[in-house]
Subunit: 214 residues, 4 copies
């Protein structure tokens, strides 16, 4: 399935492994061009409205070549998703111990800022995410997984905060939902918001929500 979904290695590597890599390097370049073009296309038109044609045209790559590297549109999107997933996962791990008081608030805001940056960098994918998510009932797996792990990390932090939240899992879901969706609004240009206000407000709300008694 890896082979079916993402033919990253497709250009056959058995032959001539010590040739000046030009072949292999060229292939890698093509793949990257496609990924870049795809991200732009998804950003511009959204996941569903993007045609394979839009991607290959933007990449100045032939139609046939696309299928040499990716099995289909979904696969490119999956590849993009993985990058984002990785970044998001690593930011997830930076999540500080949650604690009350101004220091805790500042730490939280710094972290929300990091998350926000990932969203800003990959707005396109995130947006398309929301689209693809609701659609087909089975291929949203990757997107889900990422957010799930992210949510779990947050849940465990919430659970170990003092005082403990009465329902860390639900709270984590809600907070992740808020962060994600608010950034979507930001990206969509709905509401007159800028990223700084969003980050501040999110951090403040989350901190307030988790430590209401202070």
């Amino acid at each position: 399935m890896a082979d079916r979904e993402d033919r990253r290695n497709a250009p056959d590597e058995r032959s001539d492994p010590d040739r000046p890599t030009s072949r292999r390097a060229r292939g890698a370049l093509t793949r990257r061009k496609l990924l870049v073009a795809a991200e732009e296309a998804f950003a511009a038109k959204g996941y569903h409205a993007t045609r394979v044609d839009d991607i290959v045209k933007a990449a100045h790559i032939s139609h046939g070549t696309f299928y040499l590297y990716f099995a289909n549109k979904e696969a490119v999107f999956g590849a993009l998703t993985e990058t984002v997933a990785a970044e998001l996962a690593s930011v997830g791990e930076l999540l500080p111990v949650l604690r009350p008081g101004p220091v805790g608030a500042a730490e939280l805001e710094a972290w929300v800022g990091e998350v926000s940056e990932v969203f800003a960098r990959h707005g396109a994918v995130i947006r398309a995410w929301a689209e693809s998510e609701t659609a087909a009932t089975d291929d949203r797996s990757r997107a889900d997984d990422v957010l799930k792990r992210f949510t779990e990390a947050l849940a465990s932090r919430i659970a170990s905060a003092e005082p403990p939240d009465p329902d860390p899992e639900a709270a984590a879901v809600a907070i992740v939902a808020m962060i994600e969706r608010t950034h979507l609004s930001l990206l969509a240009g709905r509401a007159d918001l800028d990223r700084q206000r969003v980050v501040r407000t999110l951090a403040r709300l989350v901190h307030g929500a988790l430590f209401p008694g202070r």
Copy 2:
């Protein structure tokens, strides 16, 4: 455009308003059948994956008849959206004055419960909403408008709460985002949540976020 987008009146209504209702009634029935079928179809497969064919099959209506009542898929969706918009708007108006303390918290929870019910009732549309929203850059107007008005109502309540929030608009956007998106998670069956937990948690978080110092 009303004519083009939503041919609700299509079966020609100009003449003789007091003619035997039967014929007109039949038309209205068909229209309703289509709306019901559409809502189900969108719920089952999502907006993009739903074909006009799915709708007419479910409604046991011929393909041609569909186009007698709606110009296209978008138009049915628009009609559904309007219903939800109306319900959401009326719930928005029920929003209580936000105030600290257990009474305020209880009031807020009751309200979140109301909102939640709308979401539960129209999960399908809400989900499809998220999809169509990010997609075409221009016809998401209606969906946007609804949430916008909803958000504004919340923002004004937040602004007049005591103590006042430092950034009511941003806060309102974030809170609406949280409520909406969390319900999407709930609908999607992601995370092991039930509606009660979600409502409680959302209310608690929102209340805590708005009145952190108590």
Copy 3:
């Protein structure tokens, strides 16, 4: 086939033949309304582009009623055609003996003027004619017949003129072609012409063509 093509008598006349004719009269009125509407519609959009729907809407008649009077679009057009055919035939009979000299020229011009008036009055049908003519290989019969009889009348006049034309049939075809097509140009607004110039020129050319040696 008359029955199939033109259900003029459709509204069943067996019953109650001596009722105050209201029934029958009403039917006749409806039929006329449809004919008028059809002529307008054909004029506005051309034969092919005209939908039965355009006709019934313009006539403020229901869709079903249309089929009570005419089997289809072609049939209405056929009915219109017959009117024009009749007028054209009667004008054809007015064709004067063709003779040289200024008197002959004046007589010819008068006649061309008569023809022109028929064309002006029924421009719509004439235009649609040209369309329907080339289209289906079998139902252009009526239109053809009319022009054919018209052409034959002209041919016989040409044949009996002095001096006789070397090829009266061909000449008649060409002359009828010229008169018809020039009026189409006039109707279409192509070229800056007015009817008077057209009539004069046509008459002059025809007369010159038939009596070149004078």
Copy 4:
């Protein structure tokens, strides 16, 4: 629009003009096959009655491929039209100085013969022309333009003949109308005519009409 109306270059020609011609040649061939098939189909059934399906079947080409080369039926027709337009324009330029007497008559007949040959070669398009002309009010531009330029050329010749015609523009319109329409009759097989008689008669009539006093 060029891109939309006539995707003649569709099989993407930007890169590498000296690449093995075969691929590009194949595309060109396909395009030609489609044009030929289209001309035949229009000839057989007329413009309106011809379906894209008729064309692709005759060309032994898949439906999808058609849309690779032409945006729609109108576009193929437009492409055909251009060919005819070019031929007609070049014949138009051959129009001799019009002069009285047998030599002038012979010259004119030779020219009418040339025109006639174009009509014979492209009867299909010419017929469809007449159809499409009266139909849509806006896309008949090309066809109109051709005849207009043709007419203008004739008008200027008529204007500079000796003696001058009293209304060269109107005369030119009428004469072009006669030539065109008579050929349509010929093509349609109406009237028992052959091309030679038509050419002779047209030439004789035109000459007589323009130089009546001789």
